[in-house]
Amino acid sequence: MASNYFYNDAFRFSRALNTLALAGICAVLLMAFVWQIAFNELPCPLCLLQRLAFIMVGAGLLLNIRFGPSPLHYGMVIISALAGVAASGRQVLLHIAPGDAGYGSPFLGLHFYTWALLLFAAFLVYCGIMLMLDRRSADHANPRRSSRTAAAVMWLFLLLALANMVSTLLECGFGPCADDPVAYLWLSLSS
C-alpha cells in the first residue's frame, strides 16, 4: 500500500513536469508564429524542420501525460531532440563563418536556430534526469484521465501543430519550400 502511494505520488509529479515541458514546447511554437506574423519573417526549410522536431518532441511528452511516464515515450523525445539537434546544428554551421549575418532577426542576442539547438540539448538533459526519477515507472497501455490544465496544454499543442501545417501549406503549397522564402506561395497566387 505504501509503495502504491509512493508510486502514485511520483507519477503525479512526473506528469506535472511533463505538462510543464509540453507547455514550454507550446511557448516555443507560439513565439515562432508571433515572430513570423509580426515581422513577416517566413521560416526557411531548415527552420520548418526544427519546428517539426519540436512537434515530435511534444508527441513523446504528450504520451507521458496521457499514459504515464515510460522509457518508450522518453525514447521518442530523445530521438526527436537528436533530430532537432541535427537540423539546428546544421543551420548554425551554415552561418558560423565570420561576416555572415545569419538568417532572420536575432532574439536576445541569438538567432532562433541557435536557441533551438540549446533547447534540444536541454530536452536531452531533461530526459536523462526524468529517466532517473521515473526509474520505477512501468509501461501502461491504457490512457489515464488528465487534469484540466494538462488537457488544455495538450489541446493548445494540437492547435499549434495544425496551425504549423496550414502555415507551411500557405508558404510552400504541395511542393518544396524556397531556401530563402519572401512570400507565401498560395497567397501570392491568389492576388
Binding site: 524542420l49 522536431a53 513523446g60 533530430a83 537540423a87 554551421l93 501545417m165 507551411t168 518544396p176
Partner: protein, 52 residues
C-alpha cells in the same frame, strides 16, 4: 518533396495521442521521423563553405 506532409503526419500523431490511441500515435510518429530524415537528406547534404 511535399514540405507540409510531415506536418500533416505530425498533427495526426498529436491527435491520436490525445485520443489515447498509442499504437496509431507511435506509427505516425515513426512515419513523421522517416519523412523528416528524407527531407534532411534534401536540405542538409550540400557541402558547407568551410572544412570541419
Amino acid at each position: 518533396m511535399i514540405m507540409m506532409l510531415p506536418f500533416l503526419t505530425g498533427m495526426l500523431t498529436v491527435w491520436f495521442g490525445i485520443r489515447g490511441q498509442r499504437r496509431m500515435c507511435l506509427s505516425l510518429w515513426f512515419i513523421t521521423l522517416a519523412i523528416f530524415a528524407a527531407w534532411c537528406h534534401v536540405h542538409m547534404t550540400d557541402p558547407l563553405g568551410f572544412s570541419l
